[in-house]
Symmetry: C4
Subunit: 210 residues, 4 copies
């Protein structure tokens, strides 16, 4: 007998659909803050070039957020590729994860506008932390409730946890650097995201990012 | 012979596609109203912290709307998981449901801006009511037209109705509380949404939310 | 041998994906023009109620556009349900159709802002006309190029053309009414859209809308 | 044994999902810059007609960007239709491609606002160049890593490269024309996009665009 909202393969498909939708929108929304300069203040090629150069911090935080979104898209995908079916609670946890993905354009704008303030860095880091926590809790719930595919071994299960924790430690270190200066934090986090996105085949890097 | 727009499994798939799209956008749009403070009025870490703290009602209504969207996403999914195929009228009813989902960011903003006004609470409740009505009518139509999957028993069919009605009764009680004070309404509805989203395994709660 | 972009079933699936995406966004964007009243001008429940009542034309044009999007979503779906595979040109025609769907929020806003001007009605009608033309040309191309599924008979093929032409005739009549007054046009088109969306089982209505 | 994020068919499906999402949003966002004229300055049918006519450059750049998005949607699809499965790096390259697709509404607005400035043309061209580079690198990676489907022959593989390079040469010529006047660049690029979108069955055109 079919019952509403029991654990199912279709439920899993719907999560994928709404997740890719939210990521696609977040990827596009963070660009919206890069605004075209007002026509009135531009009188020459030189003015326009200068106005575009002045947008550089926006492009920097765009790159940062784009990398962050990439990393969490893979994070979500790494989990869901190992999950066979989904029930209502796992879906709710996934929506909580998406709620913090949807907040990322806000945190990013705040960071772009207030690069010199610690508060902005901490809000950004808090967003990263909440994303990590929801991913961690999701995986724990899936594992405990037998939603993980049968051909996933214990080591792989542990690897998923480890990767989340390792990334969070690196970001916490990055956030702590704002005690020195907020720009050090942003720089450190940017380098971390670049390494995660590029996933270089270097042994000691592999060991750190798992 | 194939005829255009007859009841089909593909039609069902398209409804899922457009539904997840609208929910993904609605989830992201409600965040857009949380605006980064203007740079000119921020002169210190303290100013920034205070400006972010001042955004608290926005985060509250964001959480409320996020929970509401979650609940109706499951509501739509609970129905569609039991439906085998879809015809044009069922699709139209589903689009009406989506039209009220698309209005939710508006109702939410109104509530966030006018938390102290009864009218704002009533508009929000009216939105919840219309969502319930479209879901109810959709299910009734699917059942009468033989679009429900064959392995769904009578009790399950009744459960779908019951859940919609029970939720609407709770929200109507919440809305009525604005006769005392609008904040009581918002608080009550928020608690109801939290219970629905968490779906705790407590017996008496289960009996109420069905 | 696989060749890039030859007619394929996957190509057909991608068109469905991007189509549902554009419709989901268009459905949500038309709501964005319904703006929450500014807090400064609202001093009482009565003010807020009056401000919301003043939004009535927005809700009217929202309903109109929602119905229009519904009708064309079904129009596109009616065709694609009969098409077995898609090649690059059919996909391009479909994207042209989507380009005019994406313009619909603009035409709708224009109509909402300038309900009393003939030009606004004509721009809206032009948008409807271009949507009809792209659908017509798409179907013609699919039929001539053997992309239609084999179990579609000649009568069904003719029905698809007929429905497009009949709807366009009704809208042209509606547009012509703006020679009397633009509001007559909007009213007439709204009634036509309501009939299409509801698809009542009345014989003479069925004969008109095919 | 299942491992997280290894090359898989599901990974390929997720890329398709997020790609169609980003394209759907980009297609719709570029329209948002076509703004309805302010009600205060319109006093007659003639005023409204003039205001809409004044939007012509917006419609022109909308058409240009729509064509560009169409071409790159097919470019991405041409590749992915030949790819059997996807791993994390190919997905990252695809997301880089999407990051530049998401920037296209910005480049387009810049061009629409500053049609008479070389800088605007060069930024637009740079965006096209980056899109070509990411597509080229993606294909190279897929080919080297054995992710291309087995039934794709050497000639087809070469054709994919050739098409990217040929399009980039044409756009570079177009960009170079801004040494004469920026409008010549825009006109030339528009004609190139029209030819690509229409893909006419003319022998010498076919030889140029591959």
């Amino acid at each position: 007998m079919k019952r509403p909202l029991e654990a199912s393969v279709e439920g899993r498909g719907r999560i994928v659909g709404i997740t890719d939708g939210v990521f696609a929108i977040a990827l596009t929304l963070i660009v919206l803050e890069i605004r075209v300069p007002a026509h009135e203040v531009i009188h020459s090629e030189h003015d326009l070039l200068a106005a575009i150069a002045a947008l550089a911090p926006r492009f920097l935080t765009y790159a940062l957020s784009f990398l962050t979104l990439t990393i969490f898209w893979f994070g979500q995908q790494a989990q869901h590729g190992l999950i066979a079916k989904s029930d209502r609670r796992l879906a709710t946890l996934n929506l909580c994860f998406l709620a913090f993905i949807a907040l990322l354009p806000f945190s990013t704008d705040l960071l772009a506008d207030f690069l010199e303030f610690r508060t902005a860095v901490l809000v950004y880091w808090l967003n990263l932390l909440m994303l990590g926590i929801t991913l961690f809790v999701s995986w724990r719930y899936a594992e405990k409730s037998g939603l993980v595919a049968e051909d996933v071994d214990a080591e792989t299960k542990r690897t998923v946890y480890l990767r989340i924790v390792k990334a969070q430690i690196l970001w916490a270190v990055g956030a702590a650097l704002c005690l020195i200066t907020p720009l050090a934090s942003v720089g450190f986090i940017l380098v971390v995201q670049l390494i995660y996105a590029a996933t270089p085949n270097v042994k000691w890097v592999r060991r750190i990012i798992g």
